[in-house]
Protein backbone atom coordinates (compact mmCIF):
# COMPACT_ATOMS: atom_id res chain seq x y z
CA UNK A 1 0.00 0.00 0.00
CA UNK A 2 0.93 3.67 0.07
CA UNK A 3 2.58 3.45 3.44
CA UNK A 4 5.65 1.93 1.88
CA UNK A 5 7.95 4.34 3.63
CA UNK A 6 7.10 3.54 7.21
CA UNK A 7 3.99 1.42 7.14
CA UNK A 8 4.61 -0.17 10.48
CA UNK A 9 4.74 3.02 12.44
CA UNK A 10 1.42 4.44 11.38
CA UNK A 11 -0.39 1.18 11.92
CA UNK A 12 1.45 0.61 15.14
CA UNK A 13 0.48 4.03 16.44
CA UNK A 14 -3.15 3.39 15.55
CA UNK A 15 -3.08 -0.01 17.16
CA UNK A 16 -1.46 1.24 20.35
CA UNK A 17 -4.03 4.01 20.56
CA UNK A 18 -6.91 1.59 20.10
CA UNK A 19 -5.36 -0.79 22.62
CA UNK A 20 -5.17 1.94 25.23
CA UNK A 21 -8.72 2.92 24.32
CA UNK A 22 -9.90 -0.66 24.81
CA UNK A 23 -8.23 -0.89 28.18
CA UNK A 24 -9.67 2.47 29.23
CA UNK A 25 -13.09 1.32 28.04
CA UNK A 26 -12.93 -1.83 30.16
CA UNK A 27 -11.76 0.28 33.10
CA UNK A 28 -14.68 2.66 32.61
CA UNK A 29 -17.13 -0.24 32.51
CA UNK A 30 -15.55 -1.63 35.66
CA UNK A 31 -15.84 1.71 37.43
CA UNK A 32 -19.44 2.15 36.30
CA UNK A 33 -20.32 -1.32 37.54
CA UNK A 34 -18.57 -0.59 40.83
CA UNK A 35 -20.65 2.54 41.37
CA UNK A 36 -23.90 0.86 40.39
CA UNK A 37 -23.31 -2.32 42.36
CA UNK A 38 -23.97 -0.51 45.64
CA UNK A 39 -27.62 -1.20 44.85
CA UNK A 40 -27.03 -4.84 45.66
CA UNK A 41 -27.89 -8.10 43.97
CA UNK A 42 -31.37 -9.18 43.03
CA UNK A 43 -33.27 -12.47 43.06
CA UNK A 44 -36.52 -13.55 41.40
CA UNK A 45 -39.74 -13.51 43.38
CA UNK A 46 -43.50 -13.66 42.83
CA UNK A 47 -45.74 -10.82 43.92
CA UNK A 48 -48.61 -12.84 45.43
CA UNK A 49 -51.08 -10.00 44.89
CA UNK A 50 -50.46 -10.00 41.14
CA UNK A 51 -50.18 -13.78 40.65
CA UNK A 52 -53.20 -15.33 38.96
CA UNK A 53 -52.36 -18.96 39.84
CA UNK A 54 -52.19 -19.92 36.17
CA UNK A 55 -50.05 -22.97 36.86
CA UNK A 56 -47.11 -21.97 34.64
CA UNK A 57 -44.72 -22.07 37.61
CA UNK A 58 -45.04 -25.84 37.70
CA UNK A 59 -44.19 -26.16 34.00
CA UNK A 60 -41.57 -23.63 33.02
CA UNK A 61 -38.89 -23.76 35.72
CA UNK A 62 -35.55 -25.05 34.41
CA UNK A 63 -35.43 -27.35 37.41
CA UNK A 64 -37.18 -30.63 36.89
CA UNK A 65 -39.17 -29.89 40.01
CA UNK A 66 -40.04 -26.21 40.10
CA UNK A 67 -38.31 -23.86 42.53
CA UNK A 68 -41.72 -22.30 43.10
CA UNK A 69 -43.68 -23.80 45.97
CA UNK A 70 -46.83 -22.95 47.79
CA UNK A 71 -46.37 -21.35 51.19
CA UNK A 72 -48.84 -21.05 54.02
CA UNK A 73 -49.06 -17.76 55.88
CA UNK A 74 -50.51 -19.05 59.12
CA UNK A 75 -51.38 -15.64 60.56
CA UNK A 76 -54.04 -15.00 57.94
CA UNK A 77 -55.27 -18.60 57.59
CA UNK A 78 -58.84 -19.23 58.75
CA UNK A 79 -58.03 -22.78 59.93
CA UNK A 80 -61.31 -23.83 58.32
CA UNK A 81 -62.65 -27.34 58.63
CA UNK A 82 -63.96 -27.05 55.08
CA UNK A 83 -60.77 -25.77 53.46
CA UNK A 84 -61.14 -25.33 49.73
CA UNK A 85 -57.43 -25.25 49.28
CA UNK A 86 -57.22 -28.68 50.83
CA UNK A 87 -60.44 -30.35 49.69
CA UNK A 88 -61.89 -30.90 46.26
CA UNK A 89 -65.15 -29.12 45.51
CA UNK A 90 -68.04 -31.10 47.01
CA UNK A 91 -65.91 -33.56 48.92
CA UNK A 92 -67.48 -36.84 49.96
CA UNK A 93 -66.16 -36.41 53.48
CA UNK A 94 -64.23 -33.75 55.30
CA UNK A 95 -61.26 -35.95 56.02
CA UNK A 96 -57.77 -36.74 54.80
CA UNK A 97 -58.88 -39.33 52.26
CA UNK A 98 -56.93 -39.04 49.03
CA UNK A 99 -60.13 -38.84 47.01
CA UNK A 100 -61.08 -35.70 48.93
CA UNK A 101 -57.82 -33.84 48.45
CA UNK A 102 -57.43 -31.13 45.87
CA UNK A 103 -53.63 -31.28 45.77
CA UNK A 104 -52.50 -33.64 42.99
CA UNK A 105 -49.47 -34.76 44.98
CA UNK A 106 -50.98 -34.76 48.45
CA UNK A 107 -48.58 -32.06 49.56
CA UNK A 108 -50.92 -30.43 52.07
CA UNK A 109 -50.95 -31.88 55.55
CA UNK A 110 -54.04 -31.40 57.69
CA UNK A 111 -53.73 -31.63 61.45
CA UNK A 112 -56.38 -31.07 64.08
CA UNK A 113 -55.77 -28.14 66.40
CA UNK A 114 -58.97 -27.71 68.37
CA UNK A 115 -62.61 -27.92 67.48
CA UNK A 116 -63.39 -26.79 64.78
CA UNK A 117 -59.95 -25.68 63.61
CA UNK A 118 -57.41 -27.48 61.47
CA UNK A 119 -53.89 -26.50 60.62
CA UNK A 120 -52.70 -26.87 57.05
CA UNK A 121 -49.01 -27.33 56.27
CA UNK A 122 -47.28 -27.57 52.92
CA UNK A 123 -44.94 -30.55 52.59
CA UNK A 124 -42.41 -28.85 50.36
CA UNK A 125 -40.82 -32.03 49.04
CA UNK A 126 -44.16 -32.96 47.49
CA UNK A 127 -45.39 -29.54 46.33
CA UNK A 128 -44.95 -28.93 42.60
CA UNK A 129 -46.13 -25.32 42.57
CA UNK A 130 -49.21 -26.00 40.42
CA UNK A 131 -51.23 -23.37 42.33
CA UNK A 132 -54.47 -25.36 42.42
CA UNK A 133 -54.77 -24.79 46.17
CA UNK A 134 -53.68 -21.17 45.77
CA UNK A 135 -56.51 -20.46 43.39
CA UNK A 136 -59.13 -22.12 45.57
CA UNK A 137 -57.85 -20.43 48.73
CA UNK A 138 -57.90 -17.04 47.03
CA UNK A 139 -61.44 -17.44 45.74
CA UNK A 140 -63.14 -19.10 48.69
CA UNK A 141 -60.78 -18.42 51.56
CA UNK A 142 -58.40 -15.90 53.01
CA UNK A 143 -55.65 -16.33 50.46
CA UNK A 144 -53.21 -17.58 53.04
CA UNK A 145 -51.85 -20.10 50.55
CA UNK A 146 -49.78 -18.47 47.81
CA UNK A 147 -46.77 -19.17 45.63
CA UNK A 148 -43.23 -18.09 46.39
CA UNK A 149 -39.87 -18.81 44.79
CA UNK A 150 -38.02 -20.92 47.32
CA UNK A 151 -34.49 -19.64 47.32
CA UNK A 152 -32.97 -22.81 48.70
CA UNK A 153 -33.90 -24.33 45.33
CA UNK A 154 -33.88 -21.40 42.89
CA UNK A 155 -30.80 -21.22 40.63
CA UNK A 156 -31.42 -17.49 40.13
CA UNK A 157 -31.04 -17.81 36.35
CA UNK A 158 -30.06 -14.73 34.45
CA UNK A 159 -33.40 -14.80 32.72
CA UNK A 160 -35.96 -16.74 34.73
CA UNK A 161 -37.83 -19.10 32.42
CA UNK A 162 -40.98 -18.84 34.50
CA UNK A 163 -40.84 -15.05 34.44
CA UNK A 164 -40.69 -15.21 30.65
CA UNK A 165 -43.83 -17.38 30.65
CA UNK A 166 -45.71 -15.52 33.42
CA UNK A 167 -48.90 -14.03 31.95
CA UNK A 168 -49.56 -11.58 34.77
CA UNK A 169 -46.15 -10.03 35.26
CA UNK A 170 -46.08 -11.25 38.86
CA UNK A 171 -42.44 -12.31 38.56
CA UNK A 172 -39.94 -9.61 39.33
CA UNK A 173 -36.42 -9.07 40.54
CA UNK A 174 -36.35 -8.14 44.21
CA UNK A 175 -33.38 -7.17 46.38
CA UNK A 176 -31.54 -10.26 47.64
CA UNK A 177 -31.72 -8.78 51.13
CA UNK A 178 -35.52 -9.11 51.14
CA UNK A 179 -35.97 -12.18 48.97
CA UNK A 180 -39.59 -12.99 49.84
CA UNK A 181 -42.84 -11.14 49.18
CA UNK A 182 -45.10 -12.49 51.90
CA UNK A 183 -48.54 -11.05 52.34
CA UNK A 184 -48.87 -8.79 55.36
CA UNK A 185 -51.32 -9.11 58.23
CA UNK A 186 -53.90 -7.35 56.05
CA UNK A 187 -53.39 -9.88 53.29
CA UNK A 188 -51.44 -7.40 51.15
CA UNK A 189 -47.77 -7.84 50.33
Amino acid sequence: MAEKNEPVNRRKFLREGLWAGGLAGLGAVGGFVGVRSTRGDTVWQIDPNVCTSCGNCAKYCVLEESAVKCVQLYSICGYCDLCFGYLVPEPKQLDTGAENELCPTGAIERTFVEDPYYEYNIIEELCIGCAKCVKACAVFGNGSLFLQVRHDRCLNCNECSIAAACPSGAFKRVPAKTPYLLKGADGKA
Partner: protein, 430 residues
Protein backbone atom coordinates in the same frame (compact mmCIF):
# COMPACT_ATOMS: atom_id res chain seq x y z
CA UNK B 1 -70.69 -23.06 62.24
CA UNK B 2 -67.72 -22.16 60.10
CA UNK B 3 -68.87 -24.68 57.55
CA UNK B 4 -72.16 -22.81 57.21
CA UNK B 5 -70.37 -19.53 56.62
CA UNK B 6 -68.51 -21.20 53.84
CA UNK B 7 -71.65 -22.53 52.28
CA UNK B 8 -73.31 -19.14 52.55
CA UNK B 9 -70.33 -17.48 50.90
CA UNK B 10 -70.38 -20.11 48.19
CA UNK B 11 -74.04 -19.33 47.62
CA UNK B 12 -73.26 -15.66 47.12
CA UNK B 13 -70.51 -16.55 44.71
CA UNK B 14 -72.75 -18.85 42.72
CA UNK B 15 -75.31 -16.06 42.59
CA UNK B 16 -72.80 -14.21 40.51
CA UNK B 17 -71.58 -11.68 43.05
CA UNK B 18 -67.93 -11.15 42.70
CA UNK B 19 -66.36 -11.90 46.00
CA UNK B 20 -62.82 -11.86 44.75
CA UNK B 21 -62.25 -8.32 45.90
CA UNK B 22 -63.47 -9.28 49.34
CA UNK B 23 -61.72 -12.64 49.30
CA UNK B 24 -59.13 -11.55 51.79
CA UNK B 25 -59.90 -12.14 55.44
CA UNK B 26 -63.28 -13.67 54.88
CA UNK B 27 -62.60 -15.76 57.93
CA UNK B 28 -60.72 -13.91 60.63
CA UNK B 29 -58.04 -16.04 62.21
CA UNK B 30 -59.55 -17.85 65.15
CA UNK B 31 -58.85 -17.16 68.81
CA UNK B 32 -57.44 -20.44 69.93
CA UNK B 33 -58.22 -21.62 73.44
CA UNK B 34 -55.62 -24.37 73.52
CA UNK B 35 -52.67 -21.97 73.55
CA UNK B 36 -51.85 -22.73 69.92
CA UNK B 37 -49.40 -20.30 68.39
CA UNK B 38 -49.08 -19.48 64.70
CA UNK B 39 -46.06 -21.16 63.17
CA UNK B 40 -43.79 -18.94 61.09
CA UNK B 41 -43.66 -19.29 57.33
CA UNK B 42 -40.19 -20.50 56.50
CA UNK B 43 -38.09 -18.30 54.24
CA UNK B 44 -34.89 -20.11 53.30
CA UNK B 45 -32.29 -17.51 52.26
CA UNK B 46 -30.82 -17.36 48.74
CA UNK B 47 -27.61 -19.27 48.09
CA UNK B 48 -24.78 -17.37 49.68
CA UNK B 49 -22.78 -15.09 47.44
CA UNK B 50 -19.72 -17.22 48.26
CA UNK B 51 -20.59 -19.67 45.50
CA UNK B 52 -20.64 -16.88 42.96
CA UNK B 53 -17.26 -15.62 44.11
CA UNK B 54 -15.98 -19.18 43.66
CA UNK B 55 -17.28 -19.03 40.08
CA UNK B 56 -15.49 -15.75 39.46
CA UNK B 57 -12.28 -17.18 40.94
CA UNK B 58 -12.64 -20.32 38.80
CA UNK B 59 -13.01 -18.12 35.75
CA UNK B 60 -9.82 -16.24 36.55
CA UNK B 61 -7.93 -19.48 37.24
CA UNK B 62 -9.23 -21.12 34.06
CA UNK B 63 -8.27 -18.06 31.99
CA UNK B 64 -4.79 -18.05 33.45
CA UNK B 65 -4.47 -21.79 32.84
CA UNK B 66 -5.67 -21.44 29.24
CA UNK B 67 -3.14 -18.68 28.64
CA UNK B 68 -0.33 -20.70 30.18
CA UNK B 69 -1.24 -23.80 28.15
CA UNK B 70 -1.46 -21.76 24.95
CA UNK B 71 1.72 -19.75 25.25
CA UNK B 72 4.09 -21.51 27.63
CA UNK B 73 3.20 -25.19 27.39
CA UNK B 74 1.90 -25.00 23.79
CA UNK B 75 -0.08 -28.13 24.50
CA UNK B 76 -3.21 -28.99 22.56
CA UNK B 77 -3.78 -31.90 24.91
CA UNK B 78 -3.70 -29.59 27.92
CA UNK B 79 -6.07 -27.14 26.29
CA UNK B 80 -8.43 -29.99 25.44
CA UNK B 81 -8.40 -31.19 29.04
CA UNK B 82 -9.13 -27.67 30.27
CA UNK B 83 -11.94 -27.46 27.75
CA UNK B 84 -13.55 -30.60 29.16
CA UNK B 85 -13.17 -29.23 32.65
CA UNK B 86 -14.85 -25.97 31.57
CA UNK B 87 -17.77 -27.83 30.01
CA UNK B 88 -18.17 -29.87 33.19
CA UNK B 89 -17.80 -27.01 35.67
CA UNK B 90 -19.30 -23.92 33.98
CA UNK B 91 -21.66 -26.04 31.88
CA UNK B 92 -22.99 -29.14 33.56
CA UNK B 93 -22.22 -28.33 37.20
CA UNK B 94 -23.15 -24.63 37.20
CA UNK B 95 -25.89 -25.24 34.61
CA UNK B 96 -24.39 -22.77 32.13
CA UNK B 97 -25.40 -19.70 34.16
CA UNK B 98 -23.87 -17.15 34.61
CA UNK B 99 -21.90 -17.05 31.37
CA UNK B 100 -19.77 -14.38 29.79
CA UNK B 101 -21.95 -14.18 26.69
CA UNK B 102 -25.13 -13.55 28.65
CA UNK B 103 -23.40 -11.00 30.88
CA UNK B 104 -23.55 -8.54 27.96
CA UNK B 105 -27.26 -8.23 28.72
CA UNK B 106 -26.80 -7.69 32.46
CA UNK B 107 -24.44 -4.85 31.68
CA UNK B 108 -26.87 -3.35 29.15
CA UNK B 109 -29.78 -3.55 31.57
CA UNK B 110 -27.67 -1.90 34.26
CA UNK B 111 -27.03 1.04 31.94
CA UNK B 112 -30.66 1.50 30.92
CA UNK B 113 -32.65 0.38 33.97
CA UNK B 114 -31.90 2.55 36.97
CA UNK B 115 -33.44 0.01 39.35
CA UNK B 116 -31.17 -2.85 38.26
CA UNK B 117 -27.58 -3.50 39.22
CA UNK B 118 -25.37 -6.07 37.55
CA UNK B 119 -24.17 -8.73 40.00
CA UNK B 120 -20.42 -8.52 40.60
CA UNK B 121 -20.00 -12.05 39.21
CA UNK B 122 -21.67 -11.13 35.94
CA UNK B 123 -19.44 -8.05 35.70
CA UNK B 124 -16.34 -10.18 36.25
CA UNK B 125 -17.55 -12.67 33.63
CA UNK B 126 -17.96 -9.83 31.16
CA UNK B 127 -14.74 -7.96 31.88
CA UNK B 128 -12.13 -10.68 32.48
CA UNK B 129 -12.34 -12.47 29.10
CA UNK B 130 -12.15 -9.13 27.29
CA UNK B 131 -9.24 -7.96 29.42
CA UNK B 132 -7.39 -11.21 28.68
CA UNK B 133 -8.17 -10.78 24.98
CA UNK B 134 -6.51 -7.37 25.08
CA UNK B 135 -3.26 -8.97 26.23
CA UNK B 136 -3.17 -12.52 24.91
CA UNK B 137 -6.09 -12.98 22.51
CA UNK B 138 -9.08 -15.25 22.77
CA UNK B 139 -7.81 -17.74 25.34
CA UNK B 140 -11.30 -17.54 26.86
CA UNK B 141 -12.73 -19.23 23.77
CA UNK B 142 -10.00 -21.86 23.86
CA UNK B 143 -10.45 -23.48 27.20
CA UNK B 144 -12.92 -21.59 29.37
CA UNK B 145 -16.16 -21.11 27.46
CA UNK B 146 -18.43 -24.15 27.96
CA UNK B 147 -20.30 -23.42 24.71
CA UNK B 148 -17.06 -23.41 22.77
CA UNK B 149 -15.99 -26.64 24.48
CA UNK B 150 -19.19 -28.45 23.47
CA UNK B 151 -18.59 -27.58 19.83
CA UNK B 152 -14.85 -28.12 19.84
CA UNK B 153 -15.30 -31.66 21.13
CA UNK B 154 -17.59 -32.74 18.27
CA UNK B 155 -15.44 -31.29 15.47
CA UNK B 156 -14.35 -34.49 13.73
CA UNK B 157 -14.48 -33.82 9.98
CA UNK B 158 -13.67 -30.15 9.48
CA UNK B 159 -14.53 -28.58 6.15
CA UNK B 160 -13.17 -25.24 5.02
CA UNK B 161 -15.57 -22.31 4.87
CA UNK B 162 -14.55 -19.78 2.21
CA UNK B 163 -13.34 -16.51 3.71
CA UNK B 164 -15.96 -14.38 1.99
CA UNK B 165 -18.75 -16.68 3.17
CA UNK B 166 -17.36 -16.63 6.68
CA UNK B 167 -17.43 -12.83 6.64
CA UNK B 168 -21.00 -12.76 5.38
CA UNK B 169 -22.23 -15.33 7.90
CA UNK B 170 -20.53 -13.45 10.70
CA UNK B 171 -22.82 -10.51 10.00
CA UNK B 172 -25.47 -12.57 11.79
CA UNK B 173 -23.43 -12.41 14.98
CA UNK B 174 -23.16 -8.63 14.64
CA UNK B 175 -26.92 -8.41 14.19
CA UNK B 176 -27.49 -10.75 17.12
CA UNK B 177 -25.31 -8.57 19.33
CA UNK B 178 -27.19 -5.42 18.29
CA UNK B 179 -30.57 -7.11 18.80
CA UNK B 180 -29.59 -8.55 22.18
CA UNK B 181 -28.57 -5.09 23.36
CA UNK B 182 -31.85 -3.55 22.16
CA UNK B 183 -33.95 -6.26 23.82
CA UNK B 184 -32.00 -6.02 27.06
CA UNK B 185 -32.02 -2.21 27.07
CA UNK B 186 -35.80 -2.08 26.67
CA UNK B 187 -36.22 -4.65 29.43
CA UNK B 188 -37.98 -7.03 27.03
CA UNK B 189 -35.99 -10.22 27.28
CA UNK B 190 -32.54 -11.70 27.62
CA UNK B 191 -32.57 -13.29 24.17
CA UNK B 192 -29.03 -14.67 24.44
CA UNK B 193 -30.11 -16.72 27.45
CA UNK B 194 -33.43 -17.65 25.91
CA UNK B 195 -31.79 -19.00 22.76
CA UNK B 196 -28.64 -20.46 24.30
CA UNK B 197 -28.42 -23.67 22.20
CA UNK B 198 -26.51 -25.73 24.76
CA UNK B 199 -28.41 -24.85 27.92
CA UNK B 200 -30.65 -27.87 27.37
CA UNK B 201 -27.62 -30.16 27.48
CA UNK B 202 -26.11 -28.46 30.52
CA UNK B 203 -29.39 -28.73 32.42
CA UNK B 204 -30.26 -32.14 30.98
CA UNK B 205 -33.68 -30.93 29.99
CA UNK B 206 -35.70 -27.92 29.00
CA UNK B 207 -37.47 -26.40 26.05
CA UNK B 208 -37.64 -28.92 23.20
CA UNK B 209 -37.09 -26.32 20.47
CA UNK B 210 -33.88 -25.18 22.11
CA UNK B 211 -32.64 -28.75 22.50
CA UNK B 212 -33.33 -29.38 18.80
CA UNK B 213 -31.47 -26.19 17.87
CA UNK B 214 -28.58 -27.32 20.10
CA UNK B 215 -28.51 -30.72 18.40
CA UNK B 216 -28.43 -29.00 15.00
CA UNK B 217 -25.46 -26.91 16.13
CA UNK B 218 -23.65 -30.04 17.29
CA UNK B 219 -24.44 -31.90 14.04
CA UNK B 220 -23.26 -28.99 11.90
CA UNK B 221 -20.33 -28.65 14.30
CA UNK B 222 -19.03 -32.07 13.28
CA UNK B 223 -18.13 -30.55 9.91
CA UNK B 224 -18.08 -26.79 10.40
CA UNK B 225 -15.83 -25.86 13.29
CA UNK B 226 -17.59 -24.07 16.15
CA UNK B 227 -20.58 -22.75 14.18
CA UNK B 228 -22.06 -20.91 17.18
CA UNK B 229 -18.77 -19.22 18.07
CA UNK B 230 -18.08 -18.07 14.55
CA UNK B 231 -21.47 -17.07 13.21
CA UNK B 232 -23.75 -16.47 16.19
CA UNK B 233 -21.91 -15.68 19.43
CA UNK B 234 -22.34 -11.97 20.26
CA UNK B 235 -19.39 -12.03 22.65
CA UNK B 236 -17.12 -13.35 19.90
CA UNK B 237 -17.71 -10.05 18.09
CA UNK B 238 -16.35 -8.11 21.06
CA UNK B 239 -13.55 -10.62 21.68
CA UNK B 240 -12.49 -10.43 18.02
CA UNK B 241 -12.04 -6.66 18.16
CA UNK B 242 -10.12 -6.81 21.44
CA UNK B 243 -8.03 -9.71 20.19
CA UNK B 244 -7.07 -7.75 17.06
CA UNK B 245 -5.26 -5.34 19.37
CA UNK B 246 -3.75 -7.95 21.63
CA UNK B 247 -0.17 -7.56 22.83
CA UNK B 248 0.70 -11.18 22.12
CA UNK B 249 -0.57 -13.44 19.43
CA UNK B 250 -0.72 -17.20 19.16
CA UNK B 251 2.07 -18.44 16.93
CA UNK B 252 1.91 -21.65 14.95
CA UNK B 253 5.59 -22.28 15.42
CA UNK B 254 7.42 -22.18 18.75
CA UNK B 255 10.41 -20.33 17.27
CA UNK B 256 10.63 -19.71 13.52
CA UNK B 257 8.58 -20.45 10.44
CA UNK B 258 10.32 -22.62 7.85
CA UNK B 259 7.50 -22.12 5.33
CA UNK B 260 6.97 -25.86 5.05
CA UNK B 261 3.24 -25.31 4.47
CA UNK B 262 2.33 -28.24 6.71
CA UNK B 263 0.05 -26.05 8.81
CA UNK B 264 -1.78 -24.66 5.80
CA UNK B 265 -4.92 -26.75 6.35
CA UNK B 266 -4.48 -27.24 10.08
CA UNK B 267 -6.99 -24.65 11.26
CA UNK B 268 -10.64 -25.65 11.08
CA UNK B 269 -11.66 -22.06 11.84
CA UNK B 270 -9.90 -20.42 8.92
CA UNK B 271 -7.56 -18.52 11.20
CA UNK B 272 -4.29 -19.31 9.43
CA UNK B 273 -3.31 -16.71 6.89
CA UNK B 274 -1.02 -17.71 4.05
CA UNK B 275 1.92 -15.52 3.03
CA UNK B 276 0.88 -12.88 0.50
CA UNK B 277 2.14 -12.48 -3.02
CA UNK B 278 3.77 -9.15 -3.88
CA UNK B 279 0.89 -6.95 -5.03
CA UNK B 280 1.58 -4.87 -8.11
CA UNK B 281 0.96 -1.17 -8.51
CA UNK B 282 -2.22 -1.62 -10.58
CA UNK B 283 -3.89 -3.50 -7.76
CA UNK B 284 -2.98 -0.76 -5.36
CA UNK B 285 -4.59 2.00 -7.41
CA UNK B 286 -7.70 -0.09 -7.99
CA UNK B 287 -7.98 -0.85 -4.29
CA UNK B 288 -7.53 2.78 -3.36
CA UNK B 289 -10.35 3.82 -5.67
CA UNK B 290 -12.53 1.05 -4.30
CA UNK B 291 -11.78 2.13 -0.73
CA UNK B 292 -12.84 5.68 -1.54
CA UNK B 293 -16.04 4.41 -3.13
CA UNK B 294 -16.91 2.26 -0.11
CA UNK B 295 -16.24 5.11 2.30
CA UNK B 296 -18.52 7.38 0.26
CA UNK B 297 -21.12 4.62 0.30
CA UNK B 298 -20.97 4.42 4.10
CA UNK B 299 -23.53 7.16 4.97
CA UNK B 300 -25.99 5.69 2.48
CA UNK B 301 -25.55 2.19 3.93
CA UNK B 302 -26.07 3.51 7.45
CA UNK B 303 -29.21 5.38 6.45
CA UNK B 304 -30.77 2.50 4.51
CA UNK B 305 -29.90 -0.05 7.16
CA UNK B 306 -31.14 2.23 9.95
CA UNK B 307 -34.44 2.65 8.12
CA UNK B 308 -34.70 -1.14 7.75
CA UNK B 309 -34.02 -1.52 11.47
CA UNK B 310 -36.76 0.99 12.20
CA UNK B 311 -39.08 -1.07 9.99
CA UNK B 312 -38.35 -4.21 11.97
CA UNK B 313 -38.75 -2.49 15.34
CA UNK B 314 -42.55 -2.72 15.29
CA UNK B 315 -42.40 -6.49 15.25
CA UNK B 316 -39.50 -6.63 17.66
CA UNK B 317 -41.46 -4.54 20.16
CA UNK B 318 -43.99 -7.35 20.48
CA UNK B 319 -41.36 -9.38 22.31
CA UNK B 320 -42.02 -7.04 25.23
CA UNK B 321 -44.80 -8.35 27.49
CA UNK B 322 -46.44 -4.97 27.91
CA UNK B 323 -46.65 -4.29 24.19
CA UNK B 324 -48.07 -7.73 23.51
CA UNK B 325 -50.59 -7.32 26.30
CA UNK B 326 -51.63 -3.87 25.05
CA UNK B 327 -52.20 -5.26 21.56
CA UNK B 328 -54.29 -8.06 22.98
CA UNK B 329 -56.37 -5.77 25.19
CA UNK B 330 -56.92 -3.44 22.25
CA UNK B 331 -58.16 -6.32 20.09
CA UNK B 332 -60.40 -7.64 22.82
CA UNK B 333 -61.88 -4.21 23.56
CA UNK B 334 -62.46 -3.58 19.87
CA UNK B 335 -64.24 -6.92 19.58
CA UNK B 336 -61.75 -8.29 17.07
CA UNK B 337 -61.28 -11.42 19.20
CA UNK B 338 -63.82 -13.06 21.46
CA UNK B 339 -61.62 -15.09 23.78
CA UNK B 340 -59.49 -13.70 26.55
CA UNK B 341 -56.03 -14.92 27.52
CA UNK B 342 -54.46 -15.54 30.92
CA UNK B 343 -52.54 -12.31 30.47
CA UNK B 344 -55.57 -10.18 29.59
CA UNK B 345 -57.57 -11.72 32.44
CA UNK B 346 -54.73 -10.95 34.81
CA UNK B 347 -54.57 -7.36 33.54
CA UNK B 348 -58.30 -6.82 34.08
CA UNK B 349 -57.90 -8.22 37.58
CA UNK B 350 -55.44 -5.46 38.45
CA UNK B 351 -57.98 -2.71 37.81
CA UNK B 352 -55.57 -0.64 35.70
CA UNK B 353 -57.16 1.31 32.88
CA UNK B 354 -56.54 0.26 29.31
CA UNK B 355 -55.42 3.79 28.44
CA UNK B 356 -52.62 3.68 31.00
CA UNK B 357 -51.48 0.37 29.49
CA UNK B 358 -51.63 1.76 25.95
CA UNK B 359 -49.59 4.79 26.99
CA UNK B 360 -46.93 2.55 28.52
CA UNK B 361 -46.87 0.33 25.43
CA UNK B 362 -46.54 3.37 23.17
CA UNK B 363 -43.55 4.52 25.19
CA UNK B 364 -41.89 1.13 24.83
CA UNK B 365 -42.66 1.14 21.10
CA UNK B 366 -40.93 4.51 20.93
CA UNK B 367 -37.85 3.04 22.59
CA UNK B 368 -37.87 0.22 20.06
CA UNK B 369 -38.15 2.67 17.15
CA UNK B 370 -35.06 4.49 18.38
CA UNK B 371 -33.32 1.17 19.06
CA UNK B 372 -34.23 0.00 15.57
CA UNK B 373 -32.69 3.10 13.99
CA UNK B 374 -29.54 2.77 16.06
CA UNK B 375 -29.11 -1.00 15.64
CA UNK B 376 -29.86 -0.75 11.92
CA UNK B 377 -27.46 2.13 11.47
CA UNK B 378 -24.83 0.21 13.38
CA UNK B 379 -25.28 -2.76 11.05
CA UNK B 380 -24.92 -0.45 8.07
CA UNK B 381 -21.69 0.87 9.52
CA UNK B 382 -20.41 -2.67 10.07
CA UNK B 383 -21.23 -3.75 6.50
CA UNK B 384 -19.63 -0.60 5.10
CA UNK B 385 -16.45 -0.99 7.10
CA UNK B 386 -16.25 -4.68 6.23
CA UNK B 387 -16.47 -3.76 2.55
CA UNK B 388 -13.83 -1.10 3.01
CA UNK B 389 -11.59 -3.58 4.82
CA UNK B 390 -11.64 -5.93 1.82
CA UNK B 391 -9.58 -3.35 -0.07
CA UNK B 392 -6.82 -3.28 2.54
CA UNK B 393 -3.92 -5.63 2.06
CA UNK B 394 -1.49 -6.72 4.71
CA UNK B 395 1.78 -8.24 3.65
CA UNK B 396 2.88 -11.45 5.26
CA UNK B 397 6.15 -13.23 4.64
CA UNK B 398 5.15 -16.39 6.50
CA UNK B 399 2.15 -18.28 7.81
CA UNK B 400 0.47 -16.31 10.56
CA UNK B 401 -2.63 -16.64 12.66
CA UNK B 402 -5.48 -14.23 12.17
CA UNK B 403 -5.64 -12.62 15.60
CA UNK B 404 -9.36 -11.99 15.37
CA UNK B 405 -10.42 -15.49 14.28
CA UNK B 406 -7.94 -17.55 16.29
CA UNK B 407 -9.63 -19.16 19.28
CA UNK B 408 -6.29 -20.47 20.60
CA UNK B 409 -7.41 -24.09 20.42
CA UNK B 410 -3.83 -25.21 19.79
CA UNK B 411 -4.60 -27.57 16.91
CA UNK B 412 -1.97 -26.07 14.62
CA UNK B 413 0.88 -26.69 17.09
CA UNK B 414 0.88 -30.37 16.23
CA UNK B 415 1.26 -29.62 12.54
CA UNK B 416 4.44 -27.60 12.92
CA UNK B 417 7.65 -29.61 12.58
CA UNK B 418 9.47 -26.99 14.66
CA UNK B 419 7.11 -27.75 17.56
CA UNK B 420 8.23 -31.37 17.53
CA UNK B 421 11.87 -30.41 17.14
CA UNK B 422 11.71 -28.02 20.07
CA UNK B 423 9.88 -30.57 22.20
CA UNK B 424 12.53 -33.13 21.40
CA UNK B 425 15.28 -30.69 22.34
CA UNK B 426 13.52 -29.98 25.61
CA UNK B 427 13.18 -33.67 26.40
CA UNK B 428 16.84 -34.29 25.68
CA UNK B 429 17.76 -31.27 27.75
CA UNK B 430 16.12 -32.88 30.75
Amino acid sequence: MRRFYMIAVLGLWVAGLSIEAAAIEQFPPPDFESGYEFPDTTTPPPHSAAREYVDAAMLAIALAAATWLTYTRRSRRGIFALMIFAALYFGFWRKGCICAIGAIQNLTLTVFDSSYAIPITAAVFFLLPLAFALFVGRTFCAGVCPLGAMQDMVLLRPVRVPRWLEGVLRLFAWGYLAAAVVFAATGSAFVICRYDPFIGFFRLGGNLNIIVIGLCFLLVGIFVGRPYCRFVCPLSILLRQFSRLSKRRVTITPDRCISCRLCEDACPFGAILAPTAQSDEGDYIKNKKLLGFFLLLLPLLIAVSGWAGYGLSGRAARVHDTVRLADRIYMENAGLVTETTDASDAFRGTGRTADALFAEAAQIRGQFSLGGWLAGGFMGLVVGLKLAATTLRQRRAEYEVDKASCVACGRCYEFCPRQHAVLKLKREGQ
